[in-house]
Symmetry: C2
Subunit: 286 residues, 2 copies
């Protein structure tokens, strides 16, 4: 059983190529888990790291993940796992790869990745302006233990400070807007980069907490688009629940860098258990 070594993001997502070329070994870091299950954004970033390495080995000069769609089959435990990467196509402007994580010979997670090169061109059109947020000092740091005592190890490595107006569920009074907003920064001061944006896009608590649901929201599918190389400083994060129906919810997450530039977007479909009766409040129709 692996112990929490709380490595940096680079250490926690490190993949080691096997001498026989059959893939990569990884030791999934319990310091990036919720309870004993590694976070889905962490797993996605790990697969993307392996894919970028394998692309470079194949002579493909596409260092950045542009689009990563991850399908979750079984939640792996922290500890050793194996990653296989296949270059599906090496292209001019973009390349496509697939990366798959197995543990105890069982398929756990697989992702299709489009790699390319991010540019620092200014946005030609931007309909996702950075949301207003209180200063980071006026936001509240999420604790590393859930209200029911589950250790949220991830929160020791990623400091998430939430706009208090979106955190009333923490005191049992969800605002009923299905939206969380705030900041995210590595506890050790590591700057964000395109690979870790994939983690940021799935590091927030479920936005359904703001609707009065509790408990795990297991992701079925997560699609991340990385749109820019982040500037130094904390990311601003907005996570929204759009439709909760038939025990499933879709959530949208967007992250902006400290200069106000949108650097990542994600959508996920997840399972959710809703309480009886209507949600705590209803958002006005937008």
């Amino acid at each position: 059983m692996a112990v929490s070594h709380n490595g940096s993001f680079a250490e926690a997502t490190a993949v080691n190529r096997r001498a026989d070329g059959s893939g990569y070994d990884i030791d999934l870091d319990p310091g990036w888990a919720i309870g004993d299950k590694p976070n889905g954004g962490y797993l996605t970033a790990t697969l993307a790291r392996a894919a970028v390495l394998e692309a470079a080995r194949a002579g493909v000069d596409h260092p950045h993940p542009l689009a990563v769609s991850t399908t979750f089959l079984r939640a792996p435990d922290a500890g050793p796992a194996a990653v296989e990467v296949t270059v599906l196509r090496a292209g001019r402007g973009a390349s496509q790869l697939q990366a798959t994580l197995r543990q105890h010979d069982r398929l756990c997670v697989t992702a299709l990745l489009t790699l390319g090169t991010l540019t620092d061109d200014a946005a030609w059109w931007d309909d996702l302006p950075v949301p207003d947020l209180p200063s980071i000092e006026d936001c509240l740091l999420l604790p590393d233990t859930s209200p029911v005592g589950v250790p949220i190890h991830l929160m020791r490595n990623v400091h998430e400070r939430l706009d208090p107006s979106t955190l009333a569920w923490g005191a049992g009074k969800p605002a009923g807007r299905g939206e969380l907003r705030g900041y995210a920064a590595f506890a050790d001061g590591t700057p964000w980069e395109p690979l870790s944006v994939l983690l940021a896009l799935d590091c927030y608590p479920p936005a359904t907490f703001d609707l009065g649901t509790a408990g795990w929201v297991p992701t079925l599918e997560l699609t991340c688009y990385v749109r820019g190389v982040p500037a130094a400083g904390p990311l601003r994060v907005r996570q929204r629940a759009q439709l909760v129906q038939g025990s499933r919810v879709d959530e949208v997450c967007e992250v902006w860098d400290s200069s106000g530039r949108l650097v990542g977007q994600a959508t996920q479909l997840a399972g959710v258990r809703t309480p009886d009766g209507p949600p705590a409040a209803r958002s006005p129709a937008t």
Copy 2:
């Protein structure tokens, strides 16, 4: 060379299992192409049909696509192609599969699919109300030829009627909001179903047309969530461009059935060529 046979949706997406069990054959229908390239939603629906069939053969009772993320490597031509399907995991509430389309032994499209069973439960939370639209009679039918003479065969099989306020680009005066709205219905009256919702989610013109761009917007990645079994009648469609930066755009598409229920959502990352200078107009910050 295949000729346009303009079959129904069911005929155009029909897949035939090979006797040796090695996969499915399909004849990609030129009647569902833009120019000579089959539409991406059509290809996604075709892969999903093969996946649902293969799941049923494997004894998996998950008849509906819940999430489909499609990566486009090379645009196939109309004509014969081969689809391979792998059941990655047969689960209780959901199953995961992968479907891949090859033509002339070249990998063209691959998709990860999560299948399950859609329910008709009422939404517990819904932050995506159906947009206001003029009556269908007051909307404008898109022609089956582009302004520069490219045949848009798809439009003969899917009638798309757009809200005139989002169609000013057709007269060379884009509104500059990056949003298209309207209706979609099969020309032959076929009712919408979960599989064809995948087509509906990628059948509209690029929302960037409303920003003053022209030309093809090749999809890199398309993720679709199907959220309900559509009621009879036309779908309402909204397609929005969010961020155009560095020759790439993300677009969000949502479709509601005639009862006003959200039945599908999609996001895509695509290439785009922007003209010099700013877009025709800027959306107010939302």
